[in-house]
């Protein structure tokens, strides 16, 4: 809160200049990051004729939502011309359970690795952490094989399973590190009070876990919603997530390239992650620092 003191005191010249310099730099960076968004937004509400004649950041001469409509429900993806609507909902159907399941498993794992250590638990935890560093590509073939054996190949459930398995390493790490900061005396008190493993988890641990849940949910939603590789490999046709559909939409050529539709589709595909950040972003930062500052 540097402004509070600044309000009461007159700033010296050099301080004023310094302040303006800071603002200038910040605005520059903001523009740099916002520019692609601005271009996308502008392009998505232009007509094709407008796009051909104007430049990238010119304002639309004629504002239209045709491209959005088309992207959502009309554009052709491969041979089907139903827009990305169905694929968007595929992604929802994939992300919601995958995020929920991986987060819950992570919470229980973290609880065990922090408060119910057993012989060898540290080693299992270390092994699990290696999961955070395994590149996607490495697990493609074994996972394809596994899904095939389970009868889940090319299905939405299969995709969910992949994301859960891959995400558990991260969510476990998040929760474990958060729970390490919760005093073990709390668990001991509850044990003496007669509470068991799950009663302590649900009644003592979960109620204080909100910050880390937010972190986990944002992280996992972003990872899973934005994933392309698993989507491309482990799903096909009707079960593909929106990222894959977007790629196909852009690559489906019907003569002329419709940039406005592509942009609209891209914004739609990115919208949920954006929303999650806007709604829960401040909790994200709070959650990440929750261990550092007690409060």
């Amino acid at each position: 809160m540097p402004d509070m003191s600044a309000g009461n005191q007159r700033l010296s010249i050099s301080q004023t200049i310094g302040r303006w310099l800071i603002y200038a730099v910040l605005i520059l960076f903001a523009l740099y990051f916002l520019l692609p968004w601005i271009v996308m937004l502008l392009t998505s509400v232009k007509t094709m004729a407008d796009i051909r004649t104007g430049n990238l950041i010119s304002f639309p001469r004629e504002f239209t939502l045709e491209a959005w409509k088309s992207a959502w429900s009309g554009a052709c993806i491969g041979v089907k011309c139903g827009g990305i609507k169905a694929y968007f909902f595929n992604s929802v159907k994939m992300a919601v359970p995958a995020v929920a399941i991986s987060t819950l498993i992570g919470a229980v794992n973290g609880y065990v690795f922090s408060k119910w250590r057993f012989r060898g638990s540290e080693m299992i935890f270390s092994l699990l952490l290696i999961g955070c560093f395994i590149p996607f590509q490495v697990i493609l073939l074994p996972m394809a094989r596994t899904l095939g054996n389970l009868g889940l190949a090319q299905s939405l459930s299969g995709l969910i399973l992949v994301h859960v398995v891959y995400g558990v390493a991260f969510t476990t790490l998040f929760f474990r590190n958060f729970y390490v900061g919760i005093p073990t005396e709390l668990v001991n008190a509850a044990r003496i009070d007669g509470a068991g493993f799950f009663r302590i988890f649900f009644r003592i641990m979960l109620p204080v876990s909100k910050p880390i849940f937010v972190v986990c949910i944002i992280w996992q939603t972003t990872q899973i919603w934005n994933d392309f590789l698993f989507g491309v490999v482990f799903s096909s046709g009707d079960t593909q997530p929106v990222t894959v559909a977007l790629n196909n939409l852009v690559n489906t050529s019907t003569g002329v390239k419709r940039y406005n539709v592509d942009m609209a589709a891209a914004i739609i595909a990115a919208f949920p992650t954006l929303l999650v950040y806007i709604v829960a972003g401040k909790y994200f930062v709070r959650g990440l620092t929750a261990g550092a500052v007690k409060g």
Binding site: P183, E185, L186, N188, R191, I192, D193, G194, R199, P207
Partner: protein, 370 residues
């Protein structure tokens, strides 16, 4: 009847042996204080009694059953933690009743107990607040209330007052003691504060490095410490220790004290307490408490068998009721406790009376009592 019997307990964490053969027995209704420096294994011992950790060897009996393999909730104990460990998401009422609900006690009965306990501890008006809305002292009361609500056979306290400020600590000390007199339940109380130990305990177990050094009443621990560690740990200001050469003259043992400026003085050791016969012409560690070196008065001259030394005063610290005077004897700093009016100024020489009837002696190498 023993409420708690601990037999030859060992506890290892990995390869580190934290407790090395601890045996204690606590009578029903007794207030036992475990005291010792930080890291000596007090909390570990308490956790073993509670069942939060398992013993590596030895046995623990609560009442008349061995509880080694019984889980904490079935041991009939309750514990108050140093951090209070109140459930942060529950209000005080819930904090008090959580254990009772877990044990499926009928609602009406729970309500009655919460009422009773909160009245006893004067926290009735806090019942609907969250722990974060309470002061340290109030949290402390709630933590005790939670333990009381369970009405266990043994209470375990792990440094419950160490997070309070000095004044509140003294108040709560008295309050816990009064509480104990009222409910008369067995208490095992851990602290690193020897004053807490002395003021509260029926018996004190002094621990160091995972071993009980002495297990005795506060009076005995103070007057009859079994080794130099106990003697130095209990009492504030601490007991004086100085190396001193023993001489024996006509069956009468004495210590040769260098009082500074090349002068020396013989302190005679009363016959009835003298174990020094085998130590003739050898050095021992001479221990004496500050209050046994006082100003020279007429009365003390009559009773004190002429053990008067003249020493230069180096530092003076008034404490109010007494004044601490620091002198040098045999090359070490020695604290004396004198009447404020009798204290001399630094640099002056003062005649001090040494009450040798309470002198104790330690082996210079092992530190064991001679």
């Amino acid at each position: 009847m023993a409420a708690l019997k601990i037999e030859n307990i060992y506890k290892k964490f990995g390869s580190v042996e934290v407790l090395k053969g601890i045996s204690l027995d606590v009578a029903s209704g007794e207030f036992l204080v475990l005291v010792g420096p930080s890291g000596c294994g007090k909390s570990t011992l308490l956790n073993l009694i509670a069942g939060l950790e398992t013993v590596s060897a030895g046995s623990i009996m609560i009442g008349d059953r061995v509880v080694n393999d019984i889980s904490p909730k079935d041991r009939d104990i309750a514990m108050v933690f140093q951090s209070y460990a109140l459930y942060p998401n529950m209000n005080i009422r819930k904090n008090l009743s959580f254990g009772l609900e877990t044990r499926k006690m009928p609602k009406a009965q729970i309500q009655e107990i919460v009422q009773k306990v909160s009245t006893l501890l004067q926290i009735q008006n806090l019942l609907d607040r969250k722990p974060s809305e309470l002061s340290g002292g109030q949290r402390q009361r709630v933590a005790m209330g939670r333990a009381l609500a369970r009405n266990p056979k043994v209470f375990l306290f792990d440094e419950p007052l160490s997070n309070l400020d000095a004044k509140l600590r003294v108040e709560m000390r008295t309050e816990i003691k009064r509480l104990h007199q009222r409910i008369n339940t067995t208490i095992v109380y851990v602290t690193h504060d020897q004053i807490e130990a002395m003021t509260m305990a029926d018996r004190i177990a002094i621990m160091k490095d995972g071993i009980v050094q002495q297990f005795d009443t506060p009076e005995n621990v103070y007057d009859n410490p079994s080794n130099r560690f106990v003697a130095g740990f209990i009492g504030s200001p601490s007991m004086n220790f100085m190396p001193a050469k023993v001489g024996i003259d006509a069956g009468q043992a004495f210590l040769i004290m260098d009082t500074g400026n090349g002068r020396s003085h013989k302190l005679t050791v009363p016959r009835e307490i003298s174990p020094l016969a085998p130590w003739n012409d050898r050095e021992v560690i001479f221990g004496i408490r500050p209050e046994q070196i006082t100003e020279d008065t007429k009365r003390s001259r009559e009773t004190g068998k002429n053990n008067i030394i003249n020493c230069e005063v180096q530092v003076v610290e008034p404490t109010g009721p007494d004044t601490l005077v620091f002198i040098q004897l045999n090359g070490v700093e020695v604290t004396c406790r004198v009447h404020p009016a009798a204290a001399r100024r630094p640099g002056e020489t003062m005649a001090l009376q040494v009450d040798m009837s309470k002198a104790i002696f330690f082996h210079p190498e092992t530190g064991e009592r001679i």
